[in-house]
């Protein structure tokens, strides 16, 4: 125990005497959280809409007004021909073109049905898909209303009550739970926080032991009576504490700046974090014992981070992945911790509802830590 205390004192002193490192560990993640959380949104406001209105009727103008009134679109320009509109799309002056053909109103009056053409710049596919979904909803509502009024026959009750909006005989009430106002930052901030803490934990520990290897001080330690377990523990504990401080700082920012709801108990969050960091730091140490240079360590931990980043359900839903990729995601500790964070903070889950992922994390921790201690050999060559 005394040996461990001395080793810990050495590690802490090393960290304290490297002010750049300390700044990177404590300040940069917070700044990143502030900036990147605002970036992680799929919500589009004021999409640049180019209007080609060849009908010039009350109905067509009403449609454009409706689209603008939702706040989802802003008219970037109008033209009489599609050629000009296509140029605008190519130059990125517009993101979407709404083409309302002649006879739009006439068709609505005659049969209650009409057609419009939509053209999107799908280079930015995510944005195009979202704009199209917005426009689909606008057209549906507007069509239901205007189609019904302009073409009265279709809304007569004698017609079997089946036209226009009246086809709907069910009062369908949609309710969204846990984020009723669709606020992106509520969903993204906890996830990004997990990612930042993971990057700090993984990057810093993966380069730690290999650094002593490179500098040659590991051999000095190898000839001391320090046991493998003591050595690994001394490398792990300081960063465990720093990562927890990072998490606490991040949660503070989440609450104060982003006003992220915290429905569940923070104790559960920190309890799960203790287990999770054990896994993340253990993984870093394992990498560190496997490689020869810091350069290699960096590249491997970078790759691991990329896999975590893109396959843990942070930005894209896991359920959209093919089944083999879902298995990869299951093996990632980040996925489980993000799930816990979101469940506790947004949905108010307690210990009972998060037992499974916490146990999975604990299992991973034991396996990885055992491997890391065994892999670290005190003999050279």
């Amino acid at each position: 125990m005394r040996t461990l205390r001395f080793l810990l004192a050495k590690e802490f002193r090393q960290i304290r005497r490297d002010p750049t490192l300390l700044r990177m560990l404590l300040v940069v993640p917070v700044v990143q959280l502030l900036i990147l959380s605002s970036a992680a949104t799929f919500e589009v406001t004021e999409g640049r809409l180019w209007v080609v209105d060849q009908d010039r009727s009350t109905a067509s103008r009403g449609l454009v007004d409706r689209a603008v009134a939702t706040g989802r679109f802003a008219v970037a320009g109008t033209s009489a021909s599609m050629g000009v509109a296509e140029d605008a799309l190519l130059d990125r002056r517009a993101a979407a073109v709404l083409h309302i053909p002649t006879r739009f109103e006439a068709d609505l009056v005659r049969g209650g049905r009409a057609e419009v053409q939509l053209l999107y710049d799908a280079q930015d596919g995510a944005a195009a898909g979202i704009l199209n979904a917005y426009m689909g909803r606008i057209l549906q509502r507007y069509g239901d209303e205007v189609g019904g009024t302009l073409h009265p026959r279709s809304s007569e009750p004698g017609g079997g009550g089946m036209a226009g909006g009246d086809v709907q005989q069910i009062d369908l009430r949609q309710r969204g739970w846990y984020n009723a106002e669709f606020i992106y930052s509520d969903y993204m901030v906890p996830g990004i926080l997990v990612l930042l803490v993971t990057i700090v934990a993984l990057a810093i520990t993966s380069m730690n032991i290999v650094r002593e290897k490179e500098i040659g001080t590991l051999e000095q330690l190898n000839v001391t009576p320090v046991t493998r377990l003591q050595f690994v523990a001394s490398k792990l504990l300081p960063f465990w504490i720093i990562a927890l401080v990072d998490l606490a700082l991040g949660l503070g920012v989440a609450k104060v700046v982003f006003d992220v709801p915290m429905e569940g108990s923070l104790l559960v969050v920190f309890g799960a974090a203790l287990v999770y960091l054990f896994v993340a730091l253990g993984l870093g140490l394992l990498i560190s014992t496997l490689v020869e240079t810091q350069q290699q360590a960096m590249f491997i931990s970078f790759t691991v981070n990329m896999v975590f980043l893109l396959m843990s359900g942070l930005f894209t839903p896991i359920q959209s992945m093919p089944s083999w990729a879902r298995m990869v995601a299951e093996a990632s500790p980040v996925k489980h911790f993000i799930e816990i964070m979101r469940a506790v903070l947004l949905k108010g889950a307690g210990l009972a509802e998060t037992t499974t992922p916490i146990l999975v994390l604990a299992g991973m921790g034991v396996v990885i830590f055992t491997l890391a201690v065994r892999q670290h050999s005190k003999t050279t060559g």
Binding site: G47, R137, L172, Q174, T293, Q294, A343
Partner: protein, 381 residues
């Protein structure tokens, strides 16, 4: 000149003799494109639905069968009371729930014949913690219920009557440059940017700070080599590696994913060259400002990798970000590279449309190169 050649020779040997790093550098980028190309998607593929059906009858069973028959939906369980819903959502075992009123079939019958004033209420509860997926889920439920009603009606009064009487506006949608909104098409140019950042910036930063850490940089500095020669010598081998990576990733994207390649390859390589130079200059800058490999690495990871991923428009559309953040994104070289790479690959446009992006990248390259050489020069005195 001879000295420079000799120095580059030394650097090449460094890279070539570290087989493990070399293999990692060549294989990992390829593996990542394949992995993420298949795995990272945003389309909804599976919705786990819970039906709350207190009094099953013909209508509730018919609608449930509809959900069961839908490819996207999996009806995980049917329960009698909504009390279990919060727990199921908190555990992450359900995405959506549909709550039938008791006596659904009878109420529907009365509403259809006009004997009831109010339509039966059907409640759909969706987990919208993730707003993007949540709203897609709501749209799916809406569609299934609408179709079910229309088909029931068609059974009763005949399909022609229903089709003739349906009011509404039908959009004809065309997605330009990426008709199927294939995620891979958008993702590959982004991945190239990220990989170039890693290989170029991270590796050059690490390699320089390694010489610093080991004390060999001082030997270099007292040699007749000039600072720009040291930097060039350090940078060129990694530039070559970066190019090999670009080529292999492009080849994989084309052969495996069929990513379109409409524009000029020469122009794309030119843009890649500019981007590699920017990244390398950033790497040198980071190395000049940090004192150890691990701070250099953390700095590169946090300062380059995350912004390239999140502020370049690779995952989240730039247009959805708040104005101040869009201004910040202008400082990210990855954004400009991504714009030109997508333009060349998906749109097939040339310099006539991309001169702005190219100009910005060139300006950034020049500025950062000068800054890097200067930052380095200062260390001499």
């Amino acid at each position: 000149m001879n000295a420079l050649l000799g120095f580059m020779h030394k650097e090449m040997r460094h890279i070539l003799r570290d087989r493990r790093t070399l293999i990692i550098l060549l294989v990992l980028p390829l593996a990542q494109v394949l992995l993420f190309g298949f795995a990272v998607r945003t389309d909804v593929r599976e919705i786990r639905l819970v039906a709350v059906d207190p009094a099953p009858d013909a209508a509730t069973r018919s609608l449930q069968a509809r959900f069961r028959g839908n490819d996207v939906y999996t009806l995980t369980r049917v329960v009698a009371s909504p009390e279990v819903l919060p727990e199921l959502f908190q555990r992450g075992e359900a995405d959506q729930a549909i709550i039938f009123p008791p006596g659904f079939a009878a109420e529907l019958g009365r509403a259809a014949t006009g004997r009831a004033a109010e339509a039966p209420v059907l409640q759909v509860i969706t987990d919208v913690a993730d707003p993007n997926t949540g709203s897609a889920l709501q749209a799916y439920a809406d569609q299934v219920v609408r179709r079910w009603q229309r088909d029931r009606l068609a059974d009763r009064v005949g399909p022609q009557v229903v089709a003739g009487a349906l009011a509404g506006i039908t959009p004809r949608v065309r997605m330009w440059f990426n008709p199927t909104l294939e995620s891979v098409n958008l993702f590959v140019p982004g991945l190239i940017a990220v990989l170039l950042t890693v290989v170029s910036a991270l590796m050059s930063a690490i390699s320089l700070s390694r010489e610093k850490e080991r004390g060999t940089l001082e030997i270099l500095l007292v040699s007749p080599l000039r600072p720009w020669q040291i930097i060039t010598g350090k940078v060129l081998p990694y530039m070559a590696l970066g190019f090999v990576n670009v080529a292999s990733v492009l080849l994989a994207a084309w052969l495996v994913f069929g990513v379109p390649f409409r524009g000029s390859l020469a122009l794309l390589l030119l843009e890649s060259l500019l981007y590699v130079l920017v990244s390398l200059a950033l790497g040198v800058l980071i190395a000049a400002r940090t004192s150890s490999q691990r701070t250099a690495m953390l700095g590169a990871l946090m300062g380059l990798l995350l912004p390239t991923l999140l502020l370049s428009g690779m995952i989240f559309p730039l247009t959805s970000m708040p104005g101040w953040l869009q201004a910040v994104a202008n400082l990210v070289p990855g954004k400009w590279f991504l714009l030109s790479a997508r333009g060349i690959m998906l749109q097939g446009v040339g310099l006539a449309h991309l001169w702005q992006e190219t100009l910005v990248l060139t300006g950034m390259t020049a500025l950062l190169m000068v800054a890097a050489i200067r930052a380095f020069d200062v260390r001499l005195h």
